[in-house]
């Protein structure tokens, strides 16, 4: 079966900002009157990737990493400093009306709803602006009302809606024209867990039913786990990982968490005798950290030697993985290799030159040696791992 075509192609994308800097204090304020100093911020620094139609891709990175900037360039909101970008056959910065009709961009902290009017007015405004026929509008709106439970909100002024209600209406307003490409920048920020789950479920359903491509940034790992089989990690403006979420987790934390519910307290030293690290024991529940290789043995021993009532084996918590990824902690200490699909590369120190990969496309399974020539244990481990290309089919990782 042939893969869907590339919807997005990014080659050597660079976006730099010139930011004025001024130390605090009156003297600095006066000096700034005569001589303003600027700092070049490399928000996005030579990244390349491709995304196929229908994929759901999560962009991960700490604050200020460059992920939102990347999304804004792809949506045509920002002009790239250098590099080539093609989205659905358009150059986004041209903001061609047909391109704008094919996308939507929802940012959790920004809104398009008219503040003093009920959401229904914004929907109608968007219908006219996007040139949606009345029949199609009615059909889409009815569907959105049903799925997002909007009926009670339509006639209330936006300013009187709760954050969650407003977010649902924002999504609906952005979907009136049935876009085929969804840019979601922190869409669940500030929402309670129920509303987060509802929005995630809706976005996933929209992707599955309409074949829409979804690009998402979020600091909530639940968003990423539920919506993004493929993740692109950006740090200091550099692409440091592009591949399956599951691969990222296993690469950084190559161990599993085994949770044992015990029918009665274990004998002293019994847990330690299993040969795994004991993470916690409380209320009859023991959590062990087990390497992939010894998993079978530890589980078999636990079932044989301990009064196990229930047992669960999970990957490391995503929060831990991402936290480690951004802080450069334990097993996942990143190598200095440039980004390749399914691989991890360290972010460069600020001011470093362009990466060895240049403007070429990322090559699945291809690993380049570290640029600084120093191959650490961690980087050797990472580079030795089997590179798995991202699942372009949009399936959830197991």
């Amino acid at each position: 079966m042939s893969r869907p075509p590339n919807l997005i192609s990014v080659r050597g994308l660079v976006k730099h900002y010139r930011v004025p800097i001024r130390p605090p204090g009156l003297g600095a304020a006066v000096r700034a009157l005569f001589r303003r100093e600027y700092r070049q911020v490399r928000a996005v620094d030579d990244i390349s990737f491709e995304i196929r139609a229908g994929e759901r891709v999560g962009f991960l990175g700490p604050n200020g990493a460059g992920k939102t900037t990347t999304l804004k360039v792809l949506a045509g909101l920002l002009h790239p400093t250098a590099g080539e970008v093609s989205v659905a056959g358009f150059r986004p910065a041209d903001r061609d009306p047909d391109f704008l009709r094919s996308i939507m961009f929802v940012a959790g902290q920004k809104q398009q709803l008219l503040w003093d009017l009920p959401p229904a007015e914004t929907f109608e405004l968007n219908r006219a602006i996007y040139g949606v026929s009345r029949a199609s509008y009615r059909e889409t709106l009815d569907e959105l009302i049903a799925v997002l439970d909007l009926e009670p909100l339509l006639q209330k002024p936006t300013r009187q809606l709760s954050l969650g209600e407003r977010m649902k209406c924002e999504l609906a307003a952005a979907l009136i024209h049935r876009p085929s490409l969804l840019f979601l920048d922190e869409p669940t920020i500030g929402l309670d867990v129920t509303m987060q789950a509802a929005l995630r479920s809706f976005i996933r359903r929209y992707n599955e039913e309409h074949g829409a491509t979804v690009l998402l940034t979020s600091h909530y790992m639940a968003d990423v786990a539920a919506l993004a089989p493929r993740v692109v990690v950006i740090d200091h403006g550099r692409l440091t990982f592009d591949g399956l979420l599951g691969d990222l987790v296993r690469r950084l934390h190559p161990y599993r968490r085994v949770t044992l519910r015990l029918g009665e307290p274990a004998a002293p030293g019994a847990l330690e005798a299993l040969g795994a690290r004991v993470v916690s024991v409380s209320d009859g529940i023991a959590v062990l950290q087990v390497g992939e290789a010894s998993l079978k043995r530890v589980v078999a021993s636990a079932l044989e030697r301990l009064p196990v009532v229930d047992l669960a084996v999970e990957d490391a918590p995503l929060e831990d993985v991402i936290s480690d990824l951004f802080t450069g902690r334990p097993t996942g200490e990143p190598s200095a290799a440039p980004a390749v699909e399914g691989k991890i590369a360290a972010p460069p120190a600020s001011g470093q030159g362009p990466p060895a990969s240049g403007h070429g496309e990322p090559r699945p399974g291809h690993v380049q040696p570290p640029r600084d020539g120093v191959e650490t244990d961690a980087s050797r481990d990472l580079l030795a791992g089997t590179a798995t290309g991202p699942d372009r089919g949009g399936e959830r990782p197991s």
Partner: protein
């Protein structure tokens, strides 16, 4: 060795449908933004009531003219002039410079940039949609002014009366486009509103807001005739009161719309250059 990758194939930008789509969307845009203006009615009323300067000028110049007429302006002529000024100022006003500045600095301009209708058209529709509300507020003032000053203070030339909507539209267009141009400078400078304050200084002097332009010294007046300020306020007032003849009116009308076209190009070019620099860093 580096293999030069072929350039990504992208479609050339097509603008043909933009105008047609904008025009089709215009009625709904005007209706929705009118509803928005109604929702703001309290703020709107307070804002409009803040236009008291013509009334202050009326009192001031009437007092001066009580002694003796100033040029061809007696007490009654000043009354007619400043009340007409108040009405046209109410009708031709815009606040887009503050909106644009705020939205660009906050990053909320993104919502407009993402829509397939030019953002300047979106702003124009939003501002123009408030006109009916302005008419509702200005009409009682105009009626009271005519009752006070007398209907014969208004021109009886049918051509001049027929041209008033066009003159009002021209005055509004210049006001909006200048504001849009200065507002677009917010893409470059956070303090673009300071430039607008500078503009306002010239506006007060050359628009006839503080005094009829013909009372200015001849050299200043000669400069003022060619500048856009007169066509934002004074000129429609002069035509309404019959202070210019038909020939002068047609010449002024041509100048007014010439400025509108020029400023339209300026606003578009500034916007276009600004969007290229748009960063909204972290926004």
């Amino acid at each position: 060795m580096t293999d030069a990758a072929p350039a990504l194939a992208v479609r050339p930008p097509g603008r043909r449908t933009l105008l047609a789509r904008s025009l089709r969307a215009l009625p709904v845009m005007l209706r929705v933004h009118f509803a928005e203006a109604i929702a703001w009615r309290a703020e709107f009323l307070i804002w409009v009531l803040a236009y008291t300067l013509p009334l202050i000028m009326l009192a001031l110049w009437s007092a001066v003219a009580r002694e003796a007429p100033v040029g061809r302006f007696g007490e009654r002529e000043f009354r007619a002039y400043f009340l007409a000024t108040l009405v046209f100022r109410l009708l031709a006003a815009s606040w887009v410079v503050w909106d644009m500045n705020f939205q660009i600095r906050q990053g909320t301009i993104a919502a407009r940039l993402l829509r397939p209708v030019h953002p300047l058209v979106q702003f124009a529709a939003q501002q123009a949609a408030a006109l009916p509300l302005r008419v509702v507020l200005a009409t009682p003032i105009a009626i009271a002014a005519i009752a006070w000053v007398g209907a014969d203070a208004v021109t009886d030339d049918p051509l001049q009366l027929a041209m008033l909507p066009l003159l009002l539209a021209g005055a509004w267009a210049i006001t909006f486009l200048v504001m849009a141009m200065i507002g677009s400078l917010s893409f470059f400078w956070e303090s673009a509103l300071g430039i607008f304050d500078l503009w306002l200084g010239f506006y007060f002097l050359f628009s006839g807001y503080l005094m009829p332009l013909e009372l200015l010294p001849a050299p200043v007046r000669a400069v003022g005739v060619w500048m856009p300020f007169r066509y934002m306020l004074s000129f429609p007032v002069e035509v309404t009161l019959g202070l210019v003849d038909r020939r002068e009116m047609l010449f002024g009308l041509a100048l007014q719309w010439g400025w509108a076209v020029l400023l339209g190009w300026g606003a578009y070019a500034t916007w276009r250059a600004g969007v290229r620099r748009y960063s909204a860093f972290g926004g």
